[in-house]
């Protein structure tokens, strides 16, 4: 080979921060190139809120709801939909396809560990989910006059715990799915019960007691209640935060236990 090919670029620490930020930049670019990712994660949840808000009766004060409007109850629901859409519909197939295509394997023959790619995807989807959640709050406030959360710290804490639990469930889906299309299938299969638990069809507080008790032990039901309380200005019940943390820890452990790099 000609000697110009042996030109050495200035040394940089291998596998260090520069490699990690290069992986992050590359994954952000790839994420943006898939327009369906962007539509689903950033556009769909606020749009759903707008559509719900267009129903006139949802904007009227409802005596059955302690003087709140239906749209007020829907804001925490779409905030949670932001999290579960990113964590269950977008994140698992990406991860599984990286294993399926041999990208994780190829990376393990370089100084950078393939887990870098996994955690980068986790961060990326987590951040996109939070951006989308913030957008939902903003749209609700701007378009329908829904008050911003009054107990901000409680709200953020519940949101972060719910995000962690959702991503851990997504990672578990990626771990057990053999191929990217299985990951999509399993993700969708978990997505609809998860939507139900957020209260999209019946608000968790209006569910029959037996059903409501069960739903409160799912991460999405617990999160819906915790966000509802924080939105109203109360510190969320510890019970709900503990349920969220427990789901995050247990499903992460299961995902780590079953995840295969090839």
């Amino acid at each position: 080979m000609t000697d110009q090919v042996t030109t050495i670029a200035p040394p940089a620490p291998a596998g260090g921060p520069s490699a990690r930020s290069a992986v992050l930049r590359s994954e952000i670019r790839l994420y943006g190139r898939d327009i369906s990712n962007v539509l689903l994660s950033i556009v769909f949840p606020p749009l759903l809120l707008v559509i719900l808000g267009l129903v006139p009766s949802f904007r009227e004060v409802n005596p059955d709801l302690d003087g709140l409007r239906v749209i007020d109850l829907y804001v925490p629901v779409v905030v949670l939909i932001s999290l579960i859409t990113a964590a269950l519909l977008i994140f698992p197939p990406i991860l599984t396809s990286y294993r399926e295509l041999g990208i994780l394997r190829r990376m393990s023959t370089t100084p950078v560990r393939p887990s870098t790619l996994l955690f980068t995807q986790m961060w990326l989807n987590g951040v996109m989910a939070l951006v989308s959640a913030a957008l939902c709050l903003f749209v609700g406030w701007l378009a329908f006059d829904v008050a911003l959360p009054r107990q901000v710290f409680g709200y953020v804490l519940a949101l972060l715990l719910a995000g962690a639990a959702s991503l851990a469930i997504g990672a578990l889906v990626a771990a057990v799915a053999k191929a990217a299309r299985h990951a999509t299938g399993i993700g969708v299969a978990v997505y609809f019960p998860a939507l139900f638990c957020t209260g999209l069809w019946i608000p968790v507080r209006s569910m029959p007691e037996a059903l409501g008790d069960v739903v409160e032990f799912t991460p999405f039901g617990a999160a819906a209640n915790a966000l509802g309380q924080a939105a109203a200005g109360d510190w969320p019940d510890w019970r709900f935060l503990v349920v969220l943390a427990a789901w995050a820890v247990v499903t992460s452990a299961a995902a780590i236990r079953w995840f295969r790099w090839e």
């Binding site: 080979m1 050495i8 898939d34 295509l101 041999g102 190829r106 100084p111």
Partner: protein, 310 residues
């Protein structure tokens, strides 16, 4: 076919494999494999599908853990010192892809960010004929372009040795030949190459030494010329006689290994001795021939001969 081969240096082997064993679910697929790859050489692992070639090289790459045996890459253990090994060993996997929407340029930049002393990717891309494709996405590249990108990614960390596993399988003959000259360039730049292939012609043209591997065992290890000489069939004689010749008469020829007949044409595999005997046989019987050809056996013939014998 002559290829200039660079003399082996005295720096010692860059890869050492000794008594490697690997089984999957009780079925042995690599059975007592030992070889070394010297600094600056192209070492071939040649064998049919399922012979255990990929398993062997993936043990060297640290992707699979041997059941027993010892592997050293530049003196390092691929499993215990995996990160250090990644700095000296460049890899092209038999089966792998990149993200479909990643461009060639982005892939080169990304992978060069992984290494402490990467090659400058621009001249590398230039040499591999990828400059015009820098903004093309991986999913839109042809098979040959993908393989050239994989060669670039294997070289980008400036390794001392690269492992290329079935690099040219699935390429058209033109792209295959282009790839061969790239491998020669890699060798000439001083990087040792461990080349896995099931194409005899490829091994014969590129390799300084070849290990023939069949059912997990090395059946022969030598230079291409050495392997051909070692086999009992070093010469191929073919002709169309003016009148039929009895099978018994042919079978009695000295040094003969095989007889093939296709319509009137006869192809004999044997040695130098066979050639002389055929010529005198034809002269004595006053048989004229049409298109009498004597050619050297290829590695192909040697391979069949050596693996059938084992």
């Amino acid at each position: 076919m002559t290829t200039t081969r660079i003399p082996r240096t005295t720096r010692g082997p860059v890869i050492e494999v000794s008594e490697l064993h690997k089984a999957y679910g009780g079925r042995t697929v690599v059975d007592d494999v030992s070889f070394t790859v010297e600094e600056g050489e192209v070492f071939g692992i040649l064998g049919p599908n399922g012979a255990g070639k990929t398993t062997t090289v993936e043990c060297i790459e640290g992707l699979r853990v041997p059941d027993s045996g010892r592997i050293r890459v530049a003196g390092l253990d691929p499993v215990a010192d995996q990160t250090e090994v990644t700095h000296v060993l460049g890899v092209q996997l038999q089966e792998s892809a990149l993200q479909a929407k990643l461009t060639v340029r982005e892939a080169l930049e990304l992978y060069s960010s992984f290494y402490t002393r990467p090659l400058d990717w621009r001249p590398l891309a230039e040499r591999l004929g990828l400059t015009a494709k820098l903004t093309t996405r991986f999913g839109k590249l042809s098979g040959g372009q993908k393989q050239r990108l994989f060669i670039a990614l294997a070289l980008i960390g400036s390794p001392r040795v690269v492992v290329l596993d079935e690099l040219t399988t699935g390429l058209d003959p033109r792209a295959r030949r282009d790839t061969w000259s790239l491998i020669e360039d890699v060798r000439d730049s001083g990087v040792a190459v461990l080349l896995v292939t099931h194409f005899m012609e490829e091994a014969q043209r590129l390799c300084n030494r070849i290990a023939l591997i069949d059912k997990g065992k090395i059946s022969a290890l030598d230079t291409p010329a050495g392997l051909i000489g070692k086999s009992s069939t070093s010469t191929v004689i073919s002709f169309t006689p003016s009148q039929p010749i009895d099978q018994e008469i042919l079978a009695a020829l000295p040094g003969l290994a095989t007889i093939e007949r296709q319509d009137a044409r006869i192809t004999l595999r044997g040695t130098e001795e066979t050639v002389n005997a055929v010529i005198s046989l034809l002269a004595q019987a006053h048989i004229l021939t049409h298109q009498f050809r004597v050619t050297d056996a290829t590695l192909d013939d040697a391979f069949l001969d050596l693996t059938e014998a084992s």
